[in-house]
């Protein structure tokens, strides 16, 4: 049992009131360019609360950039992007947009958890310190309570025995599970996963996917960039194939992944599944 995710609920989404009918993520004609290079060219996207939405596609297609725009790590050049009904990074007064102060952007981000391909754990802190860091310093949760909640979270992702271990001594799969626990500790409304299993040894992919599947079943709203078609088939409510900065095809996984309409999708799937 030890070292494996314990099962049981990772989050208690049912307890949190969710505004029904309103999308958790809404993108409207989002454009993003780096200099002369257009990376996103008019993205429209809606992710409803408690949905798991998977972004597929070749590298350089704009998937990760879109994810980073959602929590405002990148500023979009045109269009609108809302999370939980709030415009990300801007305040609208009449027809005029005002950039938000760093403090307000930070508040918005604290509701959006993000998991990175390369884990990005804080190497100078132990597993539990990584998880406790933000609740204590951003949300000002009392240390004792934060410690208890962090221990509980780490136990649930199967790392109850690694609380006091530094990231350098954890396997990739264990590090990524700490990273997920760290993001969950902020009690986010939305979780973003940027190729969470791409940097892992093949035999460690399963333990991370298990945690993510559990999260999906618990009703966490998730946007996942991944190449794991199996994961998309099993838990996704919606799938989009991105290439060249546009969404080529989107819909439920049984349509997009099993009976794709677009040739581009067919080509991509045949390569990934080959």
């Amino acid at each position: 049992m030890s070292g494996q995710p314990e099962g049981g609920h990772l989050v208690d989404v049912a307890a949190a009131p969710t505004a029904t009918g309103q999308p958790m993520v809404k993108a409207e004609q989002v454009w993003k360019s780096f200099g002369k290079l257009d990376v996103l060219k008019g993205i429209d996207l809606e992710v409803m609360p408690q949905q798991t939405y998977v972004l597929l596609g070749p590298s350089g297609g704009g998937k990760s950039t879109l994810l980073r725009c959602i929590n405002h790590l990148e500023k979009i050049n045109a269009g609108r992007l809302w999370v939980g009904g709030e415009l990300m990074g801007y305040r609208q007064r009449g027809a005029v947009l005002h950039e938000m102060k760093a403090r307000d952007v930070a508040r918005q981000r604290s509701l959006v958890g993000m998991v990175f391909q390369r884990f990005n754990l804080f190497p100078h802190m132990t597993a539990i310190e990584n998880v406790m860091e933000s609740p204590i310093h951003v949300q000002h949760v009392p240390r004792k309570q934060a410690d208890k909640e962090a221990e509980e979270l780490l136990r649930r992702v199967g790392l109850g025995e690694k609380l006091d271990t530094y990231p350098a001594q954890l396997s990739g799969g264990q590090q990524q599970r700490v990273a997920i626990a760290r993001a969950l500790a902020m009690k986010p409304k939305l979780m973003l996963f940027d190729e969470p299993t791409s940097a892992l040894d093949p035999e460690l992919v399963g333990e991370v996917l298990d945690v993510m599947k559990q999260l999906a079943r618990d009703g966490m709203t998730m946007v996942v960039v991944t190449h794991e078609i199996g994961f998309a088939k099993e838990v996704a409510d919606g799938v989009a194939l991105m290439d060249g900065g546009v969404i080529v095809e989107s819909g439920p996984p049984r349509d997009v992944l099993v009976n794709p309409r677009e040739d581009r999708t067919k080509v991509f799937l045949s390569k990934v599944l080959a």
Binding site: S2, G3, L73, V138, Q139, D164
Partner: protein
Amino acid sequence: MTIGLNQSLPAGAGVPAPAGTRPEAIKAIPVRHWGRWISAAVVVYLVVALVFSFTRNHNVEWHVVWQYLFKQLTLRGMLLTLELTVIAMVLGAVGGVVLAVMRLSDNPVLSTISWVYIWFFRGTPVYVQILLWGNFGALYYKLFAGLPFTGIVFGSALSSRVIGTFAAAILALGLNEMAYAAELVRAGIISVDAGQQEAALSLGMSPTLTMRRVVLPQAMRVIIPTMGNETISMLKTTSLIAVIGGLELLGRLQVVWSQTFQIMPLIVVACIWYLFWTTILTVGQHYLEAYFGKGFGEKEAEAAERRAERRTLRASVALKQPPHDEGRSR
């Protein structure tokens, strides 16, 4: 131990492949490094010759060296040297962090101020800066506190009263060190993986909090060894204060030899003490590096074990049970 190992592996991986008994180790004649032995012998021969000629050299006047090595005036000078080193380095380190953060800030006002500061203080020799602060009265006879161009003055004082030799030394060494430290800190900050900042920001941490809790502690790992180097360098740079009449180690000895002409023995005294303190600092630097390397090196395992022990102890105290009865071991 075997149980613990099996537990951490997935099912099925705990069974090792069958292997025979360990065979006898290879016995071979190691490569002989004759060149090393010969060069070592040559070096030893030369060192012995050098030490012999130095100790037998009458110009060193060893009895004068011994006479002055622990003399009160030497020790007093040494104390001032250490004081100057510590104060200038603290000023330099704190100011350096501030300047580096300013330099990397989005705020163009802060970043420009920092750039100009570093440009000036790195662009002029520290020797010249010491002369500048030491002779500040020649530049501004009086110092005023007030608003420029308005005629409003809250108070004034003679420059020579405000900036004595000690203050001039601190200003010169500290302000100069700030500029160098700023560049070291900046290099340290830049060396931290960009993913760390992104992770911190995505957790809702403000840029300031990110810098303080995530980036700077990791940058310290790179900065501390170089700052140790700077401290060693500073200890020696304090000797330049002699030029404005500072009575640190070299300054005091200089006063003596200007009257007794025992230049060489007193220089040897200075060398001995500078070497002594730089050696101490080198050892200290080693421990600092070990401390700031946590989470990266071998020490982390020990630290983690201590924490785990404390945690188990806390838990068992809370449950009023002895630690070993608890059933879960970390």
